[in-house]
């Protein structure tokens, strides 16, 4: 069963001329990580807050796990949906462990169970155990975000809503937390709605991306399809679909292997060249190729050479993606694209 089904979901704030979210429909499957991407003011936060009813929709319907969200008592609905935001919203007068324990306590868990869960979560988000007694202001921004994430995960909700949770962090901390979120996602298979206006973050995290503009969905598709087949100029500009490197970063070595015509010279591989792995992305592969000053590099899988990646391979795979940009939808079947869920 689909996890979240929105149909013509609308939010019209009083005294606003246009709806902030305008008749939006989409379906999210269990275990998907969906990124909401769009410029400031396009309605991402509003859409997110309608899911846990911090904002009541003024139109349309919302099914969560098959149940109309309006039919549940609102507090009960919210205790089953994790929520993490950029400002963290950590309770400043509560210690780390008390912050994490809020929802389990609301649900009436027994003390030992909460205790065990807190330890588990601190470990999961990579915080040392002796942080549990600290107050939020005694933590760095990145550590606060980790606590916010642990708090959102505390009662093991099936759905997580995250509103620019890493927006205020430096690039290194952000990418570390992105990695950890992906790790957690692989382990726990949450259904996640993640808001950002950072395209790189979206491409990195998303199974599928909802691109929003002016309260509407401009496109809802996989990262690769969004880059290679933007549905209109807005999506194209927002995502920088013309950016060759960005596109290469979404394709793997495995997908490009053997695309170009094999030249004889490519066969003689030299042992000290940096090898590539099939799962490396092509942006990395190009950097390696240029760095080595060679026209081809060996691709090694499990210690066995499975082929040679050549510049010709890269050149061969690019036209497919470039041709697709701005072209009709049928041009949009690209090798290496993740299967659509």
């Amino acid at each position: 069963m689909s996890m979240i089904i929105a149909e013509s979901l609308t939010k019209q704030f009083s005294r606003e001329s246009r709806p902030a979210v305008d008749a939006v429909s989409f379906t999210v499957e269990p275990g998907e990580l969906i990124v909401l991407l769009g410029p400031s003011g396009c309605g991402k936060t509003t859409l997110l807050k309608m899911i846990n009813r911090l904002y009541e929709p003024t139109g349309g319907t919302l099914l969560i796990d098959g149940v109309d969200a309006r039919s549940l008592p609102v507090t009960q609905l919210r205790r089953r949906i994790g929520y993490a935001i950029q400002q963290t919203g950590l309770f400043p007068h509560l210690r780390v462990e008390q912050n994490i324990a809020v929802v389990p306590q609301l649900l009436g868990w027994a003390r030992p169970r909460i205790e065990a869960r807190t330890n588990e979560l601190l470990d999961l988000v990579g915080l040392p155990c002796d942080f549990r007694g600290r107050y939020p202001h005694q933590l760095s921004g990145g550590q606060q975000q980790r606590v916010g994430l642990a708090r959102a995960l505390a009662a093991d909700p099936a759905i997580m809503l995250m509103d620019e949770p890493f927006g205020a962090l430096d690039a290194i901390t952000r990418s570390r937390l992105q990695d950890e979120l992906l790790g957690i996602q692989r382990k726990l298979h949450k259904t996640i709605l993640f808001v950002t206006h950072d395209i790189e973050e979206a491409l990195r995290l998303a199974d599928r991306i909802i691109v929003m503009n002016d309260g509407r969905i401009a496109q809802f598709d996989t990262p690769l399809a969004i880059l290679t087949c933007p549905s209109n100029r807005f999506v194209e500009q927002l995502t920088g679909a013309n950016d060759v490197l960005r596109r290469l970063s979404l394709l793997t070595v495995a997908a490009a292997l053997g695309h170009g015509r094999r030249s004889a010279a490519a066969a003689g591989a030299v042992a000290d060249l940096p090898p590539l792995r099939p799962q490396d992305d092509l942006r990395f592969a190009l950097t390696q190729l240029l760095g080595a000053g060679e026209s081809s590099l060996p691709v090694i899988d499990d210690g066995r050479e499975v082929g040679q990646l050549t510049l010709a391979d890269l050149r061969a795979i690019l036209p497919q993606t470039i041709a697709a940009v701005g072209a009709s939808q049928d041009g949009c079947n690209v090798a290496g694209a993740a299967p659509q869920t």
Binding site: L54, V74, L106
Partner: protein
Amino acid sequence: MFELFRTSYAYYLANQDRFWMELGRHVVLSGSALAISLIVCIPLGIWAARHPASAQYVINAVGALRLIPSLAILFLALPYLGTGFGPALIALTILALPPVLINVYAGILGVERAVVEAAQAMGMTARQQLLQIELPLALPAIIAGVRTATVEVVSSATLAAFIGGGGLGIFVTRGFALFEPRIMLVGAIPVAVLALICELILGLLERWASPHRQGRAS
């Protein structure tokens, strides 16, 4: 000067029963005024913080009460309310209301929006939000308001004697009438000490209520 204190002390020794009775009355009078102001201001302040648009008028009106000198409030009570404990209590309560109300209001409004929203998003009921999040976070501000009010009320309660409300002010008025500074001091010094003690205790309480602020730079 030392002679003055000595004779004051002698007067106290000679009138111990009366002194302790008036001290008790002073404390009861001040304490009641503060208690009533808390009972009124906590719900009113919470309501005001929930409806800042319409509450503005209430807050401003109560704030304006502060501009009236305490002596004037006490003497204004005289023609309308008569004399005795009751009128003195009402006058002192009026004195205590503004600082308490304004601090409850500001304390609740001062809770960060993201924090309240997080509490909501966690699935807390309105009551849980108030009791577990908003009031604890507003507590230091509320105690600061009570502290201001307490010092004001304890010292102003001295004036209650003028309208027959009793308290340590009795010795001040009596000393004044008899041109005897030593008697005035028997009232004045304990009032100052009492105010100081209250200030200290509430200061400690305020620190205790904000563990999360200790060591914060700002």
